[in-house]
Symmetry: C2
Amino acid sequence: MFLLRRGTAMSYVLLRDGSRQILRFHFPGDILGWSALAFRHSLETVVAMSDAEVAPFDRTALVALMTQNPRLGAALSALALLERQVMSDRLATLGRTDARGRVAALLVEMRDRMSACGMANGDEFQLGLTQEEMGDAVGLTAVHVNRMLRLLEEEGLITRAGSRVTVLNHGALAQMANYVDRSDGVDLEWLTPAR
Amino acid sequence: MFLLRRGTAMSYVLLRDGSRQILRFHFPGDILGWSALAFRHSLETVVAMSDAEVAPFDRTALVALMTQNPRLGAALSALALLERQVMSDRLATLGRTDARGRVAALLVEMRDRMSACGMANGDEFQLGLTQEEMGDAVGLTAVHVNRMLRLLEEEGLITRAGSRVTVLNHGALAQMANYVDRSDGVDLEWLTPAR
DNA sequence: CGTTGTATTGACACTGGTCAAGCATGGTGG
DNA sequence: CCACCATGCTTGACCAGTGTCAATACAACG
């Protein structure tokens, strides 16, 4: 298991038929390799998407730490639950949204996360993904991702300059993506000591 | 939060456009309402699919318990991680599998889970779902679910009798669904005391 | 300069959605 | 006991959305 300290990464699975599903993009502060806690073999592949710096740690050490400091353990559980929620939202996106909405969802999510990491310049940010990677993340082909990007641009919702993207109409994108910002619903109050 | 003691349930989200994405089917022993631990408001709806019996418990009590018994806390974290893994697999299914494979995945998953609960009779089991529910779970319309069921039956992979389904060729179904049984990879050895 | 990977675009095929109709099934009230 | 109704299942015809294939244009890089 690793803590991502600097740079970006992504995790994916390869299916038997050779196709790839990107599960998650990682930004500084994320924990990589959760599944090592519950499974013998790693079930997903993590690759860096840029120069990156990670802090490895051993799961047995983590367990010792959680035992000594239960509150820390609870906090980590909460992190796992937030991950679970992100997955739920992505499930809904893949299952019940059309191609345009999925690309919009990806853009909005990436902007929000990069913004939270100080990696965005307002609504402009560098989406360090090939269109094939975008497709593998949202269940589309690279060709169709390209068409949807063009469409979003023609609709005046985004602009592109090289690999930099600017979100012009966050609301419209979020709407077509059925995007819900979860951050304001987070409630970790129970983590504080019951004094 | 609840522990499902008897019966079956499912959890879903409703999107802004009115469509429904079923996230998970629950069987006896499952914990319902995880998201209450990390969020102020519940983000998903849980409904019983049959007569059911649940044991409610309060999250503050849970936290106290986890603090007193860190090992229990770790075990719950592990449960959350298993949930996360199930979601990952479903994500790959929705993103990278065709309609036939998705229906196959649903059937195989349901059979395995019901089998684990003693709710299946060998390869025959009662799939207590309408075709619309099946569709909402795997991102298809009810009509197309029906077509895929017919196709699977014509291919000799399943038979249907009323609402009972028999899996005739588990291997072929699992293959087209890119299904991976995770249970033999689970490793919770780290939960045992480091003596 | 070639080479390689990525982006862009068009033509076409096919999967899955939509709409509509008919059919079973089981429950309900008379 | 039976007519009636609601719900879900089944099927066909047609269409929209997405994938596939192929050709071209770029850009980075040795």
